[in-house]
């Protein structure tokens, strides 16, 4: 009888400790930036599964995912790197690895996590399983636009130095560095094309972008879209735009102009301007809907309560949505049937139907900013 009871108790305990069986392909995290917390969400029923606290200063947080979609690596402004178990909704490891950070990336093989730091400037490389520090690459400048590249490489730009560095971490304790100088003034962000071949850094200090062909990195950087401002006085930029491989729709790459209420269209075959689209304000994110038929754009203060949708074939704005005040971010489900949009000042994450634009759900959240779905774990550049 006693044995039976103990067996029953231990069975009950086990049942509590084992999370219900489920996949992670429809999971994601939403940053509640003022609360130092993330919301665990699922996109099938569009619901909140839980909240994970204790992640520190998330004012400029970003998230990457393990290749199996189970773990999220959360990069905080305060230099915190946290490994979150999505199935158990809890922090598995956490390290404070620098004074001031901006983001990070996970390596092609999923074994390394690199964190990009402002202070002290550089990147640090960690074991993705244990978060054990493996090496660091000091840069003496703020690191922006870090992306993973094929071959367990990390590519990033240096804001003050105007350089692009390619770090080969195949030997993670002894990474090698290739530096490309003279790329232009003040790169503010960068991204890699979804095929992993081209790294593009946006420049804040001049009109144009820098392009590196990673198949031929010794060829250095090439200036593209130089002088897109046509010598006109730029408008004030109240929030820095963000660049990632999500801006690619077919052969075209859609990029926020700096100091202009325009989205620039770059032809990725000829690397020349294929057009420009006048939009509502200073674009922050220009995100191609999976499939590439439309590109959704949000905007900087003070025109940040609007999202515009560009039709790629027509190269013009075809729809305008008002999800709420201070729209900070948007993220598509992997097949693009829904888009999740955060409205910081209305305290909500709003889900829209990707085809009909109907509002499907409105989830309360405290100052939501970045939305990160596990599908990123399968994409190069994140």
């Amino acid at each position: 009888m006693r044995t039976l009871l103990i067996a029953a108790i231990s069975l009950a305990v086990c049942a509590c400790a084992v999370p219900p069986l489920r996949g992670t392909g429809d999971l994601g995290l939403v940053v509640e930036r003022a609360a130092g917390r993330v919301m665990l969400v699922e996109t099938t029923g569009r619901s909140v599964l839980g909240r994970i606290e204790g992640l520190g200063d998330l004012s400029h947080a970003s998230v990457v995912f393990s290749r199996d979609g189970r773990y999220a690596y959360v990069f905080g402004r305060d230099g915190g790197l946290s490994k979150v178990d999505l199935l158990r909704a809890r922090i598995e490891h956490r390290v404070l690895q620098a004074g001031n950070s901006i983001g990070g990336a996970i390596s092609q093989d999923g074994r390394l996590v690199a964190v990009a730091n402002y202070a002290p400037g550089g990147i640090r490389i960690f074991d993705a399983r244990s978060l054990e520090p493996l090496s660091e690459v000091p840069t003496g400048a703020k690191v922006v636009g870090i992306a993973d590249a094929p071959g367990n490489r990390f590519v990033f730009s240096l804001f003050e130095a105007g350089e692009i560095w390619i770090v080969d971490a195949s030997d993670p304790r002894r990474p090698s560095v290739r530096k490309i100088g003279g790329i232009g003034k003040q790169p503010y962000d960068g991204f890699i094309t979804p095929n992993g071949r081209h790294y593009i850094a946006g420049l804040f200090g001049e009109d144009g972008l820098a392009l590196v062909d990673l198949w031929n990195a010794q060829g250095g950087a090439q200036r593209i879209l130089g002088g897109y401002g046509r010598g006109e006085q730029p408008l004030p930029v109240y929030k820095m735009p963000h660049l990632r491989g999500w801006a690619v729709a077919g052969r075209y790459i859609f990029l926020p102009a700096i100091g202009r209420h325009e989205v620039l269209v770059l032809d990725s075959v000829t690397w020349t301007e294929a057009g420009r689209i006048t939009v509502h304000g200073q674009p922050v994110f220009a995100v191609a809907q999976p499939g590439g038929q439309r590109v959704w754009v949000n905007f900087a203060f003070p025109r940040n309560d609007v999202v515009q949708v560009i039709d790629v074939a027509a190269m013009q704005v075809v729809r305008e949505l008002r999800p709420g005040r201070a729209v900070l971010h948007l993220e598509f489900t992997p097949r693009g049937e829904q888009v999740w949009i955060s409205s910081r000042d209305d305290g909500a994450v709003v889900v829209y139907d990707g085809a009909s634009y109907a509002e499907l759900a409105r989830l309360p959240a405290e100052s939501p900013s970045g939305i990160f779905l596990t599908s990123r774990g399968a994409m190069t550049g994140f």
Binding site: H60, N100, Y118, K142, Y188, Y238, M240, D345
Partner: protein, 103 residues
């Protein structure tokens, strides 16, 4: 020199007397935390832009700081905020930053 000091005291007194109304104060603090915070960090410890913590600002000139808020800083990403803030408001923000923002 004394005259400058007296003027500064006068300016400070005048600024105190002309504090923004409470609703506007809340808006301004929200703006500082959230929108300035986009570059300077939500806790104002710095990011792409420098730290705006009281210890750092103590050594800086208040007039100069409100000038930078209103007119930006050339050669850096700091934009001019004069389309969204009055001179009074910029000065009030500097005062709040130097004291440390209320929680």
């Amino acid at each position: 020199m004394y005259r400058v000091a007296a003027l500064l005291v006068f300016a400070a007194a005048a600024a105190a007397a002309d504090d923004p109304v409470p609703a506007r104060r809340a808006e301004l603090l929200h703006l500082v935390r959230q929108d300035c915070g986009a570059c300077h960090g939500l806790t104002l410890k710095g990011g792409l832009g420098p730290s705006l913590e009281p210890a750092v600002l103590a050594a800086k000139d208040a007039e100069q700081m409100s000038f930078v808020i209103l007119h930006g800083r050339g050669g850096t990403p700091m934009p001019p905020w004069s389309a969204h803030l009055s001179e009074f408001e910029a000065r009030w923000i500097v005062e709040q930053l130097r004291k440390g923002l209320p929680k």
